[in-house]
C-alpha cells in the first residue's frame, strides 16, 4: 500500500477537512529519523512539547550517534527520536513505533526493522537519490521495488515542497533546505490535529536573532500542515485525547534537567550553596550546562581540567560547607574512585551522579546501559561503603537527586545516584512541586559554642553514626581531616590495629543503618504470586508496563523496582520470599542478580540485554511467560497492540 504525493497535483487533490474521518486512539508511537544534521531531535522535541501542552502523557527516547556529524546519508549518521503519547499513563517511549518518519534511505534502512507490519512510513522521497541509496546500501529504490508493501507508505517530496514554501524569503538553498524538519513537523501536526501556534512562538524565540530563518521555518511548518490538508493520503486523522494527570503546573523534563533541578531544590531547602564540579562527558554534560545557566550567589559550577579535579574540587567545596556535587558517566567514575574513597574516609557529604552509558572503556558513549552498579558499589580500594540510589524515570531523577542530597547531608557521606543515558535524554511531563512538598533537610553543624570547654572531636558521632560538620570560618573548631586512618574520636592519625578495625566497622554500620530511613518497598500486583519481576533504574517503565499487561491477561505476576541499591531495603528479602520466582531484567550481564543472590540467598532468573538500547516491554513479557504458568483464560490471539494509525 503506497500513497504518493505529487507536487504539481497536490492543489487539485484538496479535500474538505469535513470529509475526513477522525479516529480516537489511546496512544501512538512515532519515530522521527534522519541524518544527524536533519534536525530530527528538534522536530521530536517540538512534537513532544505540543503533546505535553495538549495534556497527553508521554515519554520520549532520543537515540543519536556518537559522532556530531557522521557523513551525510550514511547509516552511522542516523539520528532518531521516538515519542509515545497517550491518553493513559505511559511508562516508556513505546517498544516499537506505529509511525516512522524517515528523512533519507539510511534512516529508513536502519529503522525499518523496528516497525511492525502494517505500520506507517512517511518518507522524504527527494532524498532517495542514487547517491543516498548507495550510501544506505540499497541496490534498488525501496520506494519503488515493492519491498515496502507490508507497510503503509506515504511518499512526500519534502525537500522540494519545503524549498517552494520558503522561496519568498530568499534564503540560500542550503539554509532553505534545513527548514524541511519543520515542514515534516507540519505534516505530522496535521495528522494528529495539533496546533502550530505554540511551535511558531518557539521558533520566534529560538531564531529571533535571524528574522529570515525564523520566517522561513514558520512558513515551512505551515506549508507542511496545509499541504497535508490537501492530500488524500491523510484521509483519516487521529485524535489522542488528553490523559488524566493530577492537577498542577507542569513542564517537560528530561533526566539530566531533573537532576539539575533536584540539586537546586535540595540546596535551597538545606540553606546551602550548591557547588557542581564536573568535566564534560556524554551523556552527563547537560547537567553542567543546565546549572551553569543558573549561576547565582547560591549556584556555582566549576568545569575542571579532568574527572579527578572535578571530584577533588567538589570535596574541597564540601569541606567548605557547600552542597557539593559532581556528575559524570562510567569512565569518569573510574577516574574518581580514589577520591570517592577519600570522601568516605573523611566523611563529608557529597553527591556523585553517574549517568551510565555503554561500557567498558569508552564503549557506547551515546547509548544506554546499567553496567556500573558493581563499579559504584565495589570499585574502590579497601572497605569503602558508599550508598547507591537509582532513579527510575526522567522525572524521578528529580526525586532521587533530592533524596541523594538529603541522605548525604544527614549521614555525612558521599552518595552515588545512578541514572542512565535513556533517563538522561528521555522526556516526560513533570508536575512542578511546591517547596513545602519537599522533605526537610536538616544539617547538624558543629558550633563554637558547643566546644567552649572541650576540644572539638571531629569523629564524635550522633545516633545515626554521623559525624559533625565543622566548616572553616568557625572559630575554635580548627581541625584536620585526611585520607589516613583516624582515631575514632579526635581524628588524629592512628595506626592502632584495634582502632582501624573499629573505624572500618563503624563506617560500614553507618551506611548499613541508612536503610531504616528508606520507605517500604512498593510492589505492584499481588502480595504472593508465581513471579516477581524485580528491576532497578531505567528499566522500571518497561517492567511496570509488562507487569500490568501480564496481570491483565491473568498471569500471576507482580513487579517491583529498587531505588535504593546500597544499602538494600530492610524488607527486600522478606518481599522476595513471597514469590515462587524472581525475574530480574537489567541492561547488564546480571549485576543486581548477583547482589540479590548474595544478599537474600535466592536464585533469581536474569533477563540481560546489552545492545545499547533500552529494554522493551515485550521482551520482559516474553521472558516472563516462559517461566510462569499460562493462565487458562489467556487467548493466544489477543494481544495488546494499541491502535495503528
Amino acid at each position: 500500500m503506497s500513497s504518493r504525493v505529487d507536487v504539481q497535483n497536490s492543489a487539485e487533490e484538496k479535500l474538505q477537512t469535513a470529509d475526513r474521518i477522525s479516529q480516537d486512539l489511546d496512544r501512538v508511537t512515532i519515530r522521527f529519523a534522519g541524518d544527524s544534521g536533519d534536525g530530527m531531535q528538534l522536530t521530536g522535541m517540538r512534537f513532544t512539547e505540543s503533546a505535553a501542552q495538549i495534556g497527553n502523557d508521554l515519554a520520549t527516547f532520543p537515540d543519536y550517534p556518537a559522532e556530531i556529524r557522521a557523513p551525510a546519508g550514511s547509516l552511522p549518521g542516523v539520528s532518531g527520536f521516538q515519542i509515545q503519547f497517550s491518553t493513559n499513563e505511559v511508562y516508556t517511549p513505546g517498544d516499537e513505533p506505529d509511525v516512522l518518519v524517515a528523512m533519507n534511505p539510511a534512516a529508513l534502512k536502519s529503522n525499518l526493522g523496528d516497525l511492525p507490519h502494517g505500520g506507517t512510513i512517511m518518507v522524504n522521497e527527494d532524498a532517495f537519490t542514487t547517491n543516498y541509496l548507495r550510501l544506505a546500501g540499497y541496490d534498488e529504490n525501496p520506494l519503488d521495488d515493492g519491498s515496502l508493501n507490508e507497510w503503509r507508505l506515504i511518499r512526500v517530496p519534502i525537500t522540494r515542497l519545503t524549498l517552494a514554501a520558503v522561496e519568498e524569503v530568499g534564503l540560500k538553498k542550503s539554509l532553505a533546505e534545513r527548514c524541511k524538519n519543520f515542514f515534516t513537523l507540519g505534516l505530522v501536526f496535521f495528522l494528529y490535529q495539533r496546533d502550530t501556534d505554540q511551535t511558531k512562538k518557539w521558533i520566534d524565540n529560538k531564531f529571533g536573532f535571524n528574522l529570515d530563518v525564523a520566517r522561513a521555518n514558520k512558513l515551512a511548518l505551515q506549508a507542511g500542515y496545509n499541504i497535508a490538508d490537501t492530500l488524500e493520503v491523510f484521509q483519516t486523522l487521529y485524535r489522542i485525547p488528553k490523559a488524566e494527570l493530577s492537577p498542577g503546573l507542569y513542564r517537560g523534563i528530561n533526566g539530566n534537567l531533573a537532576v539539575s533541578l533536584g540539586l537546586v531544590a535540595a540546596a535551597r531547602k538545606a540553606g546551602l550553596d550548591l557547588f557542581y564540579g564536573s568535566y564534560p562527558i556524554t551523556p552527563a554534560s547537560e547537567i553542567l550546562h543546565e546549572l551553569s545557566g543558573m549561576l547565582s550567589d547560591g549556584i556555582k559550577t566549576f568545569q575542571a581540567e579532568d574527572e579527578i579535579a572535578a571530584i577533588g574540587a567538589t570535596i574541597g567545596a564540601a569541606f567548605g560547607g557547600a552542597l557539593a556535587v559532581t556528575g559524570t558517566s562510567g569512565p569518569g567514575i573510574a577516574l574518581k574512585s580514589e577520591a570517592m574513597g577519600l570522601a568516605t574516609m573523611v566523611e563529608l557529604p557529597l553527591v556523585i551522579i553517574n549517568v551510565q552509558r555503554g561500557g567498558p572503556s569508552t564503549g557506547l558513549p551515546t547509548k544506554t546501559e546499567q553496567a556500573d552498579l558493581l563499579q559504584v558499589l565495589y570499585g574502590r580500594n579497601g572497605e569503602s561503603p558508599i550508598p547507591v540510589l537509582a532513579a527510575t524515570t526522567p522525572a524521578d531523577c528529580f526525586n532521587m537527586t533530592y533524596e541523594a542530597s538529603r541522605l548525604a547531608l544527614k549521614y555525612m557521606t558521599p552518595v552515588v545516584l545512578l541514572t542512565d543515558g535513556y533517563l538522561a535524554n528521555g522526556t516526560e511531563p513533570w508536575r512542578i512541586p511546591n517547596e513545602d512538598e519537599l522533605p526537610e533537610i536538616n544539617i547538624k553543624y558543629a558550633n563554637s559554642e558547643d566546644y567552649q570547654d572541650r576540644k572539638f572531636a571531629p569523629y564524635e558521632r550522633d545516633e545515626n553514626l554521623s559525624r559533625p560538620w565543622a566548616i572553616p570560618g568557625t572559630p575554635g573548631l580548627e581541625h584536620r581531616v585526611g585520607g589516613l586512618e583516624k582515631d575514632l574520636l579526635m581524628g588524629r592519625v592512628s595506626y592502632d590495629p584495634d582502632n582501624h578495625q573499629q573505624m572500618v566497622e563503624t563506617r560500614a554500620a553507618k551506611i548499613a543503618g541508612m536503610a531504616k530511613d528508606f520507605p517500604p518497598l512498593e510492589v505492584n500486583g499481588p502480595d504472593n504470586a508465581d513471579l516477581l519481576i524485580l528491576g532497578w533504574g531505567g528499566t522500571t517503565g518497561a517492567i511496570t508496563s509488562a507487569g500490568e499487561q501480564l496481570r491483565a491477561k491473568g498471569y500471576s505476576v507482580a513487579n517491583c523496582t529498587l531505588r535504593y541499591l546500597n544499602p538494600l531495603p530492610n524488607d527486600l528479602c522478606e518481599v522476595l520470599e513471597r514469590y515462587k520466582q524472581v525475574l530480574i531484567p537489567e541492561l547488564n550481564l546480571g549485576q543486581l542478580k548477583l547482589l540479590i543472590r548474595a544478599h537474600c540467598l535466592i536464585d533469581p532468573i536474569g533477563l540481560n540485554k546489552v545492545t545499547g538500547k533500552p529494554i522493551k516491554i515485550q521482551e520482559v513479557v516474553d521472558k516472563a511467560i516462559t517461566v510462569v504458568e499460562r493462565p487458562e483464560s489467556v487467548d493466544e490471539q489477543e494481544t495488546d497492540k494499541g491502535a495503528q494509525p
Binding site: R251, G277, L295, G312, G316, G320, A322, G482
Partner: protein
C-alpha cells in the same frame, strides 16, 4: 580596660599555630624549618586563624597540615590543588594554602599544577622540592637531575628534570618565587609576599632530604658558598651577587651574562634592573643554573591579573542583573515553558 580592648582578640603568635600532633619528620629534615617559618608568618598575614586552610596531597611534605593548628586537609596524591580550588571557588573569603612536593605537585599532580595556575585561582602553593621521592624511600622524582642513581634508577636516571619555577611561569602564574629551607629570613619574606598576592602564588622551596638525597642543594645553599652561587632577585634592582655584590647579571642580545663590576667598570645604575612584571624576562632568568651561573631565588613573577574569585564574582553579579522574575525556588524549577492541568 576599655570596651574596645575587651572585645579585641589577643594577638596570635606562632604557638597558636602549633597543633597537638607530634611532628614525625626525620631529624634534620628541611621541612621543620619551612613549618616554623609558616607558623611564624600566619599571625601576621591579617587573616583570622579560623579562615586559614592548609591542604596537602601525599608525601613527606604533605603531612604538614597535621602540624599547623588551622583547618586542614591531607588529601590524596597529587590532588591538593583540586580541593583547594573547589574550596576557594565556593568560599572566596578563606585564605587557602597548598603544601606539595616535587613528586606530588609535578608528577602525579602535574595537570592540576598547570590548570590551577592558569586559572589564577587565589591560593598559595608552597612546593617542597627535595628532588627525590622520600616517603616511598628514594626513587628519582621529576626534578631529580639526569643521571641520578636511585633505587629505581641504578644506572642513573635517563629522564630530563623539570624546573618548577619555569613550569609555573609557562603555566601563566601571576606570582612565582623560590627560596631555600635554611635561609629562614628570606623564606619568611617570600611567605609574607605570596600571602598578600591576589591570584595564584607559587613558591618553590629547596628542601633538604637528609635520608634519601642529603645535601642536594648544599653546593648552592651552604653559608660559605651561598653569596656566590645564589642570585637574590630584588624588585626593580640590578641583579647583583657575590659577597661584595661584585658581580651582576646583565642581558645583552637575549643572552644573560655575568659582569665583573670592577673589571667592567660598570655603574650599577646602568645595569639592567629585574622586572617581575615581565614573565619573558622571568623565564630567561629562571634558566640560570649552576655552575655557569648563580641560581636565582626570590620573586620571579609578580603581576596583577584578576583572580578566579574576582572573575567569578563578576559573572555572578552579571547573571543576577540579567535574571528575570523572582528568585524563589518555584520560579527556578518552572523554567519558562509550563502548562497547567486543572
Amino acid at each position: 580596660m576599655t570596651a574596645t580592648q575587651a572585645v579585641q582578640k589577643p594577638e596570635l603568635t606562632r604557638k597558636d599555630f602549633v597543633s597537638d600532633a607530634e611532628v614525625r619528620w626525620c631529624p634534620g629534615c628541611g621541612d621543620f624549618s619551612i613549618l616554623a617559618q609558616v607558623q611564624k608568618c600566619m599571625p601576621k598575614i591579617g587573616v583570622p586563624r579560623e579562615n586559614i586552610v592548609f591542604i596537602s596531597g601525599i608525601g613527606c611534605s604533605s603531612r604538614f597540615p597535621y602540624y599547623i593548628d588551622t583547618y586542614g586537609f591531607h588529601s590524596i596524591h597529587g590532588r591538593a590543588m583540586t580541593l583547594a580550588s573547589g574550596l576557594k571557588a565556593s568560599r572566596p573569603e578563606l585564605s587557602v594554602w597548598v603544601i606539595t612536593g616535587d613528586g606530588d605537585g609535578l608528577s602525579i599532580g602535574g595537570n592540576h599544577f598547570l590548570h590551577t595556575l592558569r586559572r589564577n585561582m587565589d591560593i598559595n602553593i608552597i612546593m617542597f622540592n627535595n628532588r627525590i621521592y622520600g616517603l616511598t624511600k628514594g626513587q628519582y622524582s621529576p626534578t631529580s637531575e639526569q643521571g641520578k642513581r636511585t633505587k629505581s634508577s641504578p644506572m642513573g636516571s635517563i629522564s630530563y628534570p623539570i624546573n618548577p619555577v619555569r613550569a609555573a611561569i609557562a603555566s601563566e602564574a601571576t606570582w612565582v618565587g623560590r627560596s631555600v629551607d635554611i635561609d629562614t629570613k628570606h623564606l619568611s619574606s617570600m611567605i609574607m609576599a605570596m600571602a598578600s598576592h591576589s591570584g595564584a602564588s607559587f613558591l618553590e622551596v629547596y628542601q633538604d632530604c637528609k635520608i634519601f638525597n642529603a645535601g642536594a642543594f648544599s653546593h648552592l645553599t651552604d653559608k660559605t658558598v651561598r653569596d656566590d652561587r645564589l642570585l637574590y632577585l630584588e624588585p626593580d634592582q640590578p641583579m647583583l651577587f657575590g659577597k661584595e655584590k661584585q658581580y651582576a647579571i646583565d642581558i645583552k642580545t637575549h643572552r644573560p651574562m655575568i659582569l665583573d663590576m670592577e673589571r667592567s667598570r660598570m655603574d650599577s645604575k646602568d645595569l639592567m634592573k629585574y622586572d617581575a612584571s615581565d614573565p619573558t624576562l622571568a623565564y630567561m632568568i629562571s634558566n640560570l643554573d649552576y655552575p655557569k651561573f648563580p641560581v636565582p631565588v626570590g620573586v620571579f613573577v609578580d603581576i596583577e591579573r584578576a583572580s578566579y574569585s574576582d572573575l567569578l564574582e563578576g559573572i555572578t553579579n552579571e547573571a543576577k542583573e540579567k535574571a528575570e522574575g523572582p528568585d524563589d525556588l518555584r520560579t527556578l524549577l518552572s523554567g519558562n515553558n509550563t502548562w497547567s492541568i486543572e
